[in-house]
Symmetry: D2
């Protein structure tokens, strides 16, 4: 292996730049040339390669987003598209690729691997829905951002004796919602994995109201059957069943951005370094991520296409603590 490329794909996640920096610097230290690919798989197909030096990743470890950019690429879902991508890499003498991204992006890298191209992944998505890993790159920052917003909302909720529905990211996976609720001391949490009846939520709010609590917070994952807007709509005619006056906030894209936490910078750094090692050592088709307290590699075949389950213990703990 002489020349590798690195791309970021899918939704951006804080820490991607730490991973890029690490791939570049560790790659160069291993004697490789390293290219950056602009705009994810779309740039791969279009041959948008940029030579990277030790200097070109200076000062990016603390930046949110991804300096390489990301984009959707329907063409890459076709074999034709992927063949073009491989041809572009071969034309530029690139014989290994690091893909930093989540589930959809790693489906792509697995398909490249199956076509025989040396690939290594870095598990990166703020949804934490990647099977096999404990934590993916970006989750810790998104969680802290959501928590900071929750802390802010609590002070205004408490001043006005209100209940708040706070919607956090998570299309299929309630991890972010559950952890935000636990760390923020929320009264109720609503996740996609559990089929929650909005009337049960109303009852819990009513009980908190009658226990004399000054406010209540419900954290809702965007992918729950009733998201925040649906639940607010459901409660509109049922004010008396809830007790509190109700407000809603959708945290939205704010969760995705910003300076990465120490954990995400370290995870990006270490997973990026391992991805290079995987390519150099010929362990192709693997993905590096956080598992059991350290960076580990799993075969893409084992990771892609499966669903990460929620820890049921934590759901019960959230209920015990919400008093």
């Amino acid at each position: 292996m002489k020349r590798i490329a690195v791309l970021t794909s899918g939704g951006d996640a804080p820490g991607m730049n730490a991973a890029i920096r690490s791939v570049v610097r560790v790659g160069i230290a291993e004697g490789l040339e390293v290219y950056g690919v602009e705009q994810g798989y779309a740039g791969l197909i279009a041959g948008r390669f940029v030579p990277m030096t030790v200097r070109s990743v200076g000062g990016i470890i603390g930046l949110g987003g991804t300096v390489l950019g990301s984009a959707r690429c329907p063409e890459f879902r076709t074999e034709e598209g992927r063949r073009k991508a491989i041809e572009q890499m071969q034309a530029h003498g690139i014989d290994g690729l690091v893909v930093i991204g989540g589930g959809g992006s790693q489906t792509g890298s697995l398909l490249l691997h199956r076509m025989g191209f040396p690939v290594a992944g870095v598990a990166s998505t703020i949804d934490n829905d990647l099977y096999g890993f404990d934590l993916t790159l970006g989750v810790d920052t998104a969680l802290n951002t959501a928590l900071e917003s929750l802390d802010r909302i609590r002070s205004t909720a408490s001043s006005h004796h209100r209940a708040f529905l706070v919607e956090v990211m998570g299309r299929d996976c309630g991890y972010l919602a559950l952890m935000t609720a636990l760390a923020g001391g929320a009264e109720v949490v609503v996740v996609p994995e559990v089929d929650v009846d909005p009337d049960a939520v109303a009852r819990e709010l009513r009980e908190a109201y009658e226990r004399g609590k000054s406010h209540a917070i419900v954290v809702v994952a965007e992918g729950a059957r009733y998201n925040a807007a649906a639940m607010a709509e459901h409660f509109r005619e049922r004010r008396d069943e809830v007790g509190f006056e109700l407000r809603m906030t959708v945290l939205g894209h704010v969760q995705r951005g910003g300076t990465p936490t120490a954990f995400d910078r370290l995870l990006g750094t270490r997973a990026g370094a391992m991805a290079v090692k995987l390519l150099v050592e010929g362990r192709h088709g693997h993905i590096a991520g956080w598992l059991e307290g350290k960076v580990q590699a799993l075969p893409l075949e084992e990771v892609v296409g499966k669903k990460r389950p929620l820890e049921p213990d934590l759901l019960s703990l959230a209920e015990v603590l919400a008093q």
Copy 2:
């Protein structure tokens, strides 16, 4: 004057607790007894008075929201309601009242003043829509919170070559939107005071897109003719006119909460101290706020019911800088 009370009213604002603390400690230093009123004017009518000591406001200067609570009170809009409030205060031997709040709340304090009850106001609302003052309590914190969110959104916007509509608070007043846009380097700002054509916004985005900008941010005040949702709806069918892919975020109640900035703690502290002095010195019916670089008092009669104009210079400057 021997005994005064203090209440917070209307939407809570960061810094209200600094003002409460200052009213209590300065009041006691002036030889007064000080009572807190729970839940604003509603608590005033209901006689919810709590004796305050130097200790009871210890450690609150850095807390968001208001430890006294706030609530809506339609009854206080009737003369009957206000008469009850005055009777309650007289029954408790209270001969002066400090009202910490914005436009609606100070209408209430003006009416009490007209009925002959000694009142002093503290100008406090995150909307900065109070006539006569440069800055009201809470604006600086809300602005910094909105700006931090904008900074976060920029990193994700830039990674995906997107335009974002970011809605900030401000029902009648575009101050927060304009300042957030200027400080955040936004490309476009939409305020209630100017009748903005959404097609003109589309043209500006299109131009930024064609100049090769990696992203664009439009800051929209919630009270603009087209708020963020209306504008997103308008653009839905006009994707080509905009250039960028579009996303929307409503910052919402997050802006209201959180630890107050140094400025808001200092403003609350100084305005609270002045409110006590106004009562003690017999300058009743005045309101303390930030004007021309220091805390000053204005007659409530001059402040209430008028509209704070936006500085047109700043709007032009925002346009010059958005490049």
Copy 3:
């Protein structure tokens, strides 16, 4: 077991309040009465017990420090002192104790255990020097605080073409220094575990200077043979060997305080819950902490009195990346 007590001991760590809250609420949910002990072991000997309710820990999950207080207690190092402590607990009908603290504090809890009193620990110290665990309570917050300071220093260092010696906490353990250096992209890191020659540091700075870097950051653990002050002193006469103009900052107690991160709130919550379970289930003399991606219990006998080694891989990685 019917009645338990909880105390915090040693240096305070962010997340201790989350642990206290969890011990109280999980304890009550398990049917126990829970008492808080004020001022650590000193309060235990003096019998300063406070009954705790679900309400008395409301709103503390986000607070830094410890609401129970902490204090040094030389008396507890004597058998006499520990006997008094046990008598106090017996007199109050307390039949189990949760000790939240680091190495020194857990030596105390082990000694109580050896005297036959049921004890459970929660591994908590910002130094991360507790043998057996990956991360102790408070480390994540301290690390993020140190990192934020490093980010600030970098901008001023870069503006003035200076090198900075930044001293972080860590008397025997370089974990915090190493992680801060890695996450902050520092040029050099100096830890107690490695005997670093200050002239070697000077050479690295000189090389960075000659490569044209705009600045350089050296992260120094307080317990290194040459701490920041000693190194600055050593360099005073050797300005030419360093290249850069040199400045020094000791981060100090700032690292210890502040709102805990999501991770520390979750760790405190989960470890506190496990400590209660350990007492209830009769697994006495264990300590709960973060290991291999989850909360686990280890026997105090295995943890106390040993030294946590630094991961040598990370030291090498820090060198590769510092370019």
Copy 4:
């Protein structure tokens, strides 16, 4: 006027980049060419001019420090040095200069003005020691950073019943110390403008200790007769007179760096714009800064070489509130 240059000089201050951006963009909008000068007056003498475009200041509004760099320049204090600087500007066709900096730097710009070269200043220093202005660029950010550190220290101080000496920047001017103390609810503040007896500080701490306070904070300006280290030394033998156990933290360069607050971004933006207008309109030898709630220009002759007095009202208020 056709071509202007802009430089930053002296200690860097958050918001300098907002000012640079504004000078560049407003200058270009006014039809001027704008050059940046690297490394302050040293770069001016050496002719280190860089052409600036609308693009070259994109994305810098939120960065700490100064992208143009700053450096000491003893040569500029000589008339010879200043003559060289003017010759360099003339050789590059530059007929106006914007100097962003504090007292020492504006002495330089006044001397250039006296030599007939068109100059405009932007009042910028985190010490807030510039005569004539209410607030200089960078003060608001430095104050919020110091306050955040104080908040952190308070939680650890309170957990251990300790008193802390916290040293903030300010060589001749106690503004930052006084405001940090007021906003942070400190018990005592020590500024250079008032000759404080350390035994009086000890007495205040002793009284707080005896009133049963859980902790006490003393904010000390670095330029006070007894700075933090001197006061700690003085107290070493007088433990009993203080009551509390004592700790010390010097905040240091952390205060200088970091993302500027909204206020500093807006002030830099508006003062930079005014500096360009001053040059264009022929009002040479003026300096733009914050005064009475807006950006105003003062003649350099009136500003340079004088001392900004501390508001005595605020010192008394700090005493009243510290209870």
